[in-house]
Every structure is written in C-alpha cells, then in structure tokens.
C-alpha cells in the first residue's frame, strides 16, 4: 500500500470521544468515522444493515454502536450486527497519523460505490 492510497479527511480532535463524524463521498454512500472510549478510530459506511439508519447518530459503547432507528447493535470492528440480529455494514480501513484521520482510498471507493 503506497502513501497516495490514504486520504486525509480531517483532524482526530474534531471527532468527540464516544462520538462520530461523517464524510460524504461524491457519487456514493456517506462514511461514518467513530472514535471509541479507548481512543481507537473506526470507519463504516453510514448505513445500518437493517433499515439504513445513519449509524453516525447512534450511541457508541465499547467497540459497537447502537443504531438510532431501531437500536440494532453493530460491531465497529467487523460491521456485523450483534446479538440476535443478522446483517453487515461494510467497514473501511482507517488510521490516525500525526493527529490526522486517514481513510483508505480504494476501499472507500469500493465500499461506497
């Protein structure tokens, strides 16, 4: 993976702890970035596998988020629905470098297409 494959989408400080921010993708689905209590960052397509609720607006706890529409719990690590529910939201590789949040370009384009 070469340097050009990571796209800087903004500063880590702009995502609240246990909070989320969104990144629109031209011509595709919005991406949601999540910052967890232990300061890790995850990126998922901002769409619950159930009824397409905006996951970025859910409550973040542990490494999961509860969808704001019907409270499905989605793993931030795998994108899979947890508990009894079945479904999966695409995840996107993301990393933090020098206080900046970087999204994987090819994966974003693939997942959001």
């Amino acid at each position: 993976m070469y340097v050009g494959d990571w796209i800087d989408v903004g500063p880590l400080a702009a995502i609240p702890v246990r909070g989320s921010r969104t990144v629109p993708v031209a011509g595709g689905d919005e991406v949601a970035l999540f910052r967890t209590g232990d300061n890790q960052v995850f990126a998922l397509v901002n769409r619950c596998p159930h009824k397409h609720g905006p996951l970025s607006q859910g409550i973040i706890h542990g490494h999961s988020v509860s969808c704001p529409l019907h409270n499905w719990r989605i793993s931030l690590v795998t994108g899979e629905a947890l508990g009894e529910d079945k479904g999966c939201t695409p995840t996107i590789p993301v990393k933090v470098d020098g206080g900046r949040v970087l999204l994987c370009r090819t994966s974003t384009l693939k997942a959001a297409a």
């Binding site: 050009g4 494959d5 796209i7 800087d8 989408v9 903004g10 702009a14 995502i15 609240p16 702890v17 246990r18 909070g19 921010r21 969104t22 990144v23 629109p24 993708v25 031209a26 011509g27 991406v31 970035l33 209590g37 232990d38 009824k51 397409h52 609720g53 905006p54 607006q57 859910g58 409550i59 973040i60 706890h61 542990g62 509860s66 704001p68 529409l69 409270n71 719990r73 009894e84 949040v101 999204l103 370009r105 974003t108 384009l109 959001a112």
Partner: protein
C-alpha cells in the same frame, strides 16, 4: 433459523469399533418427536443413531408458545426448544422441510417428498395433528388459514400489518388466543362460536360467561351460537356469512375449530388406526418396530390435544426403547388460557356427568372471580377457576392423586394456604406442601422434584433453572413458583432476583440502587458511577448511559455537565430523527396558542428548506418534516427570530400543555384554562424527565383538552381546579387518578411542580407516570403531594431551582454556533483527488 432439507450431522455415524448402531427414524420434528428423543438421550445417549424428519423448515420449537409470538410477547427465537447446536452435539441428523410421504414396512424404509429414502430399525411416528377445516364454500380462498404453525403466524402478522377486520371461527383455547393476538396487533376481531358458551370443553357456563364479558370489554365481538354458512370472496376472502344470513366482513379468516390426529401416513402403511394410531402402554403400534407418540395416537380409546399427556407418553416410550418398560396409563389433563391478564384454569370433569358429583362454588362478582370444585366420593374430580388461578396446581395435584379431601372440605374452595394453614396465607408453605411429582411448568412438563434436583445440582438463580431444566422458560406463568422453590431449597443463600431488575446487562444494580448511591456517595460523573458501582463494561451501553446521564442531571442541577454522547440521537440533535435520516422540527406554541408572526415564520421555513410536509400534531402545534441535519441550525435561527423556542417534541422531557379555550370564549368554560395552561407551560418547559411528560388543562368537565389521559391534567370546575395524574393515551390507555382539588391557579401551579419533581426524583428512567403510579400506588403520591405540606413545598422549590438552569433554549444555543460539529461533516472525500494521486 430457516433452512430447507439440510442435514446437520454426518450421514453415516459409525461406532468407534466400526459397528453401526441401530437406526431410529423419527417422523415429526415437533414437540412430541423431539421430547421423545430428549427422553431417550437422557437414558442412553449412544444407543440409537437418530434421524428426524420434519415438514417445517425450522428447528424444534414450542408450538404452544405461538400465541405469545402472535401477541408480540415473544419472538420466534425465544420459543425455540432445541437449536442447531443441540442436533449437532447429540449427533442427530435433522431433515427439515422435507416431510416423509410413505413408509415401506417390509423393507423398513421411509421415503420423503424429495425422494430421499432412509432405512430404519425402529420408527417413531410423531406427526401430531392437522387442523380441522369445516367443509363450507370458500374454505380454500386465500386469506383463510388455520393456527397451527409458524407459517400461519407469519400470515396473520402480515394481515394484521394492513389492519382491517378478522374473523376467528372457533371460541376454544386456540381460537381465543388467535383472536387476542390479532386484536393486540390492531385488527378488529369477531369470534364466531357454534356453541352457546366459550371454551365449553374446558369451562362451565358461568366461567364462559365471565370470559366472554372480559373479551368484549377488550373490544372483541363474540358471537356464540353462530353457525358458519359460507366464506365469501372473489379472489380473496371478503367475509363470513352465517346461517342466519348475517355477513361479517373480514380480510382474514382463522379456522380454529379443532384438530384431528394426523394418521394418513400410518393408515397407508397398514397400521391399526382408529381415531388415532393405536398404541399400547409402551407406545408401540400394531407393528412391533413402529412406535407412535403425541397427538396422533389413540391410547385406550383416548386421543389428546394438549401438551401435558405428551410428556408422560414420551417417558413411557423412552423407557420401552431402552428395555426398561414402565408403561403409560393415560392422562388427566388441565388447561390454562394464554391470554395476558385473563386467568383461566380448568381440569378434569366438571360437566356433572359423574353421578353423585357435588359442586363447591365461590363467586366474587365485583372482583371477577369464580371458582368451582367438583367433588365425588370425597375426591376432587374437576375444577374450574376464573380470575384467580393460583390454586390450580394444588387442585390438579389432589385430583390426579385421588386424595381424600373430607378433612379439608370446609376450606377447600378458599385454596391451599387457607385449607392447610388455618387461614394464614403463606405461598411458600403452599409450594412446600406440593408433592414431588406435582407439575410446576406446564409448558415444558417439569415436576417439582425435577426443579428441586436442578437447584440442588447448582442452579441457584432463575436464569440458571430456566437454562437447565426449562421450568418457567416458556410462558413464564410459573415464575413465582420456581422462585419459591429456589427460596425453599437454598434458604438464606438465595438472594432473590425479581425485585432487582437491573438497569441493563452492564450492572447487577437496579435503577433505585443506582439513584440512591449517586446521591449518597455524591457521585458526579458517568465514569465515576461505573467505577464505584463495578460496571462490567468499559463505557456502558445504549441503555445505561442515557439513564445515568439523566440521574446525574436530576441529582445535581446546575452542576452536572450533560454528556452529549450519552443522549439518544433526538436529544442530541434537538429534533426527531425520521426513517430516512432527516429530522422533524416542532417549535413550541405556548398552550397551543399562536399568532400571524409565528405562522408566517413557520410557512417561510417550510418553503425556504423545501420541507415536504408540515403537519398539525396531537399536542396542538406544528411539525415540519424532512429537514437535513446540516440545515437544522439555520431553521432554528429563523424560528428564534420570530420568538419561538424548542418544543422538546424529541425529548424525555415536558412535551406540550394542551388546552381548550376556557372561560374566555366558551359558553361552558368555568376558568381560564388557556391562560393557566400557558402559565404551566412557561413554568415547566425545558425540564428533563425520566420519560416524556404531557399536560393538559380543560376549562370544564366536558374535558375537551382530554386532560384525563395526560401525565398531569387539570379539569377546571366552578369552585376551582381538579388535579389528575398518571394518565396515558399510548399502547395501553390509562385514565388519570384524581389527586386532589385546589381552589387557586397558584396552587395548581405549585402542585404541578411538586408532582413533576417527585416523578423526576423517584421514577425509573423510561418509566412513564402511568406505570410508575401503578407500581408505587396513588396513596403514596397523595401522601407526598397532598398531605405532607412541607414536603410538597420543598419539592416545588427543588423543581423551580432545577428549572433555573434548564430554561435556556437549546435551539438558540445551537443557532449561535454551539456543538457546530453535530451538524457538519468532518471533511469531504473527493475521488478526483484520488484519481490525481494515481
């Protein structure tokens, strides 16, 4: 959970030594077939190589729990008895969704619909029964179904989702449960019953009449003595015509008139068949290698359509299969109706057919209680209980054992505690007195002895007992009995559990414990509470975080800093999220009164932001739909400019104060209800609560503002103001209780503030005032608000103090730039850049 024609275990499972075990094939993956296999595994897990064929594409589930699934009290997953893992762990091959269509007794093989053939050494037929379809014209129309399996439930749920009218033909156990479920799901239900009283096979006339009145009070139409002539409709069912000419419109017809043993397969195979498949005491048919069990069999001239006999048959069957025969001696059955809130129990013979039968009857009409015990030769032969069924198990136990009741006859009808304890009702003693083989759990056929053994074997909580022996794991009506057995068996070691309903799975503490400790220990942040109270998760979950945030906010007004990340989306965004991810915006209209300036501002916002809909709400204000999260601050700025603030239509908070026009305009008005409503709204707006809170003020007892279904309602009368509390117009309608009457507006305001503060301080998060009052009792509220004057003033004072921090308009703060990141994207992702980088 669904899968079709799929095998779960290896086709050939050889013994370690290489010699194959005898093959047992079970036809029927229902309650009888699987229970028989369970009983067999318990005796000798390695004796047979088991294959189960099932017609339905599911694992084994509890058929009698379909009613709670229909009623929305359970999900399908919750009624599964044995999941995939059970089949796999026990090396059982399950062929689901592929019913057996023929048996070749000479070759000892069965053939399934798919053509698949399998050889058996022993064959068990557990095909259950088929619903009886009355042969009337139109019976095959789409929309006419029975109530037998998960597919029927799915059909009913799909029909109920569209609303409309349903007819249930048959007022027996199954029909009434179907009617109850459909009615709860919002359909208008008519029950058509051929006989003069409901459930006539289980209930006598008096109990049947009580049941009919109760169901009618719940909105069902019950037609007894009604005979179906035909089902009408062109391409889909449209209604049912009775023989007397009446036509009842319906988009769904459920036939629940009875069941017939499913014997076709056995008959074609040449087995001896009467009403059911003939079996001996060891459940062996006329072919020594073929057994049968459950609703499809006839034993000593009896066929059974209830679940309890099945447990006894399966025990006898398994004993026979491992060559330690005990024998089945027939069953005495009892019945419970699974309609929540209606307790009906019946057992044995109550028809008076036995000569020398005597009735002992107790009626308490105002409490809706009817008990009848039928005694013959000093022994109980039957019992019917309506309204209070607590002693059902005891009567049934005495009946089955044929015990001589002459010494307790005088007290018999008052129940076990009274008859044995001389009037002191001690439910624990009653359970202790039950014999070891008394049935505790009717759904899963678990005896008292088995529950006690399970507890002694280490299951020391309700959940553990449910997981180990399934007692109280299905309908839950025996939960109290199981808890008493835990107490009796473990003594002081049993900590109890039902009292402490924990906040969520992150903690073992209940809501009340957490609230008390927050104040007692002076805890001031969510992490501190989680740390000191040993939370099991790093940062809680979406259940406990909003609750803790509220409890802290309520305990430390002006001091605690609200945690935005612990707020549900609506409270974080100060708007209501809709299914497409946009928001709706409701500005406050004090007392439902508005003016041209406000209306113009709303109209302008609707046009400027292309809001696709603007709607008048039930709370006397306007709701603007389809606003994007990015546009919210600008919308609010425009509304603020016209003097409007947030309506908190999104919050666990004060919603609206609904008013009528009162004495200012109305010829009936006794007081200025509009003016008082506005004063109340000005005092209470912005306050956070355990749940949403609605108020109304009506200007006279005609009550046009519907104040008696609000959390707090004022009904003005000539001499003052009636204050009502705890009403609710939601899923379960509850009219208010009258708290007291006061004579001035100021008193009405002070009492309102005190009541709200009591609710804020003592109710559990997400508990509306209606269930809260039902839990703690109206007397307690009266004592705190009406009788304790000093206490009331203190409550009012605390509410007003708290309000001094919460009446800043959140919209104005956001419009001025607070929490801007909530409404903006972090950055943008432009593929052009990406292409340029390549």
């Amino acid at each position: 959970m669904d899968f079709q024609g799929q095998s779960l275990a290896n086709d050939e499972m050889e013994e370690p030594g290489g010699e194959a075990r005898p093959r047992l094939i079970v036809i029927g993956n229902g309650m009888a077939g699987c229970r028989a296999v369970e009983e067999l595994l318990e005796r000798d897990a390695r004796r047979y190589q088991v294959t189960i064929f099932g017609a339905e594409p599911h694992v084994n589930y509890n058929r009698i729990m379909l009613s709670p699934v229909l009623a929305g009290e359970k999900t399908f997953e919750q009624i599964v008895i044995n999941d995939h893992a059970w089949y796999a762990d026990n090396g059982i091959e399950l062929v689901a969704g592929d019913p057996v269509v023929s048996i070749d007794r000479a070759a000892k093989t069965v053939t399934a619909r798919s053509g698949r053939t399998a050889r058996y050494d022993k064959l068990l037929i557990a095909t259950g029964s088929d619903p009886f379809i009355i042969p009337v014209p139109g019976k095959d129309l789409p929309g006419v179904i029975s109530f037998r399996d998960m597919k029927d439930v799915d059909t009913m749920l799909a029909a109920a989702a569209k609303g409309g009218e349903a007819v249930v033909i048959g007022g027996g156990l199954l029909g009434l449960e179907a009617a109850h479920g459909l009615s709860l799901r919002g359909m208008k239900v008519t029950v058509i019953h051929l006989m003069p009283t409901l459930m006539e096979r289980q209930l006598d006339e008096a109990a049947g009449w009580l049941l009919k009145s109760e169901l009618e009070a719940r909105g069902q139409t019950i037609l007894t003595g009604a005979d179906t002539a035909e089902i009408v409709g062109e391409t889909q069912v449209e209604g049912v015509r009775l023989k007397d000419g009446r036509l009842i419109p319906a988009s769904l017809v459920v036939m629940a008139v009875g069941i017939r043993p499913s014997v076709a397969l056995a008959r074609e195979a040449g087995l001896a068949v009467g009403r059911g498949i003939h079996v001996d005491d060891h459940m062996v048919t006329s072919d020594a290698n073929i057994l049968a069990v459950g609703e499809c069999v006839e034993h000593e001239g009896q066929v059974y359509g209830l679940v309890a006999p099945l447990w006894e048959m399966c025990r006898a069957l398994a004993d026979g299969l491992v060559e330690q025969p005990t024998g089945y001696r027939g069953s005495v059955t009892s019945t419970k109706l699974k309609v929540s809130g209606i307790d009906v129990f019946s057992a044995g013979d109550f028809s008076g057919s036995t000569c020398e039968a005597e009735d002992i009857v107790l009626r308490d009409a105002s409490r809706g209680i009817y008990k009848r015990v039928v005694v013959s030769n000093d022994r109980i032969v039957g019992a019917v209980l309506y309204g209070d069924t607590a002693d059902g198990n005891w009567y049934f136990d005495l009946l089955k054992k044929g015990e001589d009741i002459s010494s307790i006859r005088d007290f018999l009808i008052f129940g076990q505690a009274f008859a044995q304890g001389g009037g002191q009702a001690d439910p624990k003693a009653a359970v202790a007195a039950l014999s070891d083989d008394a049935e505790i759990c009717g759904c899963n056929g678990v005896s008292k002895g088995k529950v006690v053994a399970t507890i002694q074997g280490g299951a020391c909580t309700l959940d553990a007992v449910r997981a180990s022996c399934k007692a109280s794991a299905s309908c839950g009506s025996c939960t109290g009995l199981v808890e008493q057995l835990l107490e009796l068996t473990l003594g002081d070691e049993y900590a109890g559990e039902r009292d402490v309903k924990t906040v969520c799975k992150c903690t073992s503490f209940g809501h009340d414990d957490v609230r008390r400790e927050i104040v007692a220990q002076g805890m001031k942040s969510i992490p501190e509470v989680m740390q000191k109270m040993s939370w099991s998760t790093p940062d809680g979950c979406s259940s406990c975080r909003p609750a803790l945030n509220y409890y802290l906010l309520c305990a430390w007004p002006g001091e605690y800093v609200d945690d935005q990340q612990s707020r549900f989306v609506n409270e974080r965004m100060h708007a209501n999220i809709q299914k497409d991810g946009t928001y709706s915006v409701v500005p406050r209209m004090w007392g439902g009164v508005t003016n041209p300036r406000e209306l113009r501002a709303i109209a302008d916002v609707v046009e400027k932001y292309n809001a696709p809909m603007v709607k008048v709400t039930g709370g006397q204000r306007l709701d603007i739909f389809g606003i994007k999260k990015e546009d919210l601050p600008a919308v609010w700025a425009d509304l603020n400019a016209a003097g409007m603030v947030s309506g908190h239509a999104y919050g666990k908070s004060l919603r609206t104060v609904k008013t009528c026009v009162g004495s200012e305009w109305c010829r009936f008005g006794t007081q200025d209800s509009t003016g008082l409503g506005i004063q109340i709204e000005r005092m209470t707006w912005g306050s956070w609560m355990p749940h949403k809170f609605k108020i109304a003020v009506s200007g006279c007892p005609r009550n046009c503002a519907e104040a008696t279904i609000k959390d707090f309602g004022v009904v003005c009368v000539d001499s003052g103001y009636e204050l009502h509390v705890g009403g609710n117009g939601g899923i379960k309608v509850r009219a208010t209780d009258l708290l007291c009457k006061v004579s001035t507006e100021q008193q009405a305001l002070d009492y309102c503030a005190a009541f709200i503060q009591l609710y804020r301080e003592e109710a559990r998060y997400l508990e509306r005032t209606a269930p809260w009052i039902e839990r703690i009792g109206l007397d307690y509220i009266k004592q705190r608000i009406v009788e304790d004057e000093v206490g009331r003033e203190a409550l009012t004072g605390r509410f007003l103090y708290s309000q001094s921090f919460s009446q800043e308009d959140p919209w104005a703060q956001r419009a001025a730039g607070a929490e801007r990141e909530q409404h903006a994207h972090l950055g943008e992702f432009r593929p052009i850049e990406a292409i340029a980088a390549e």
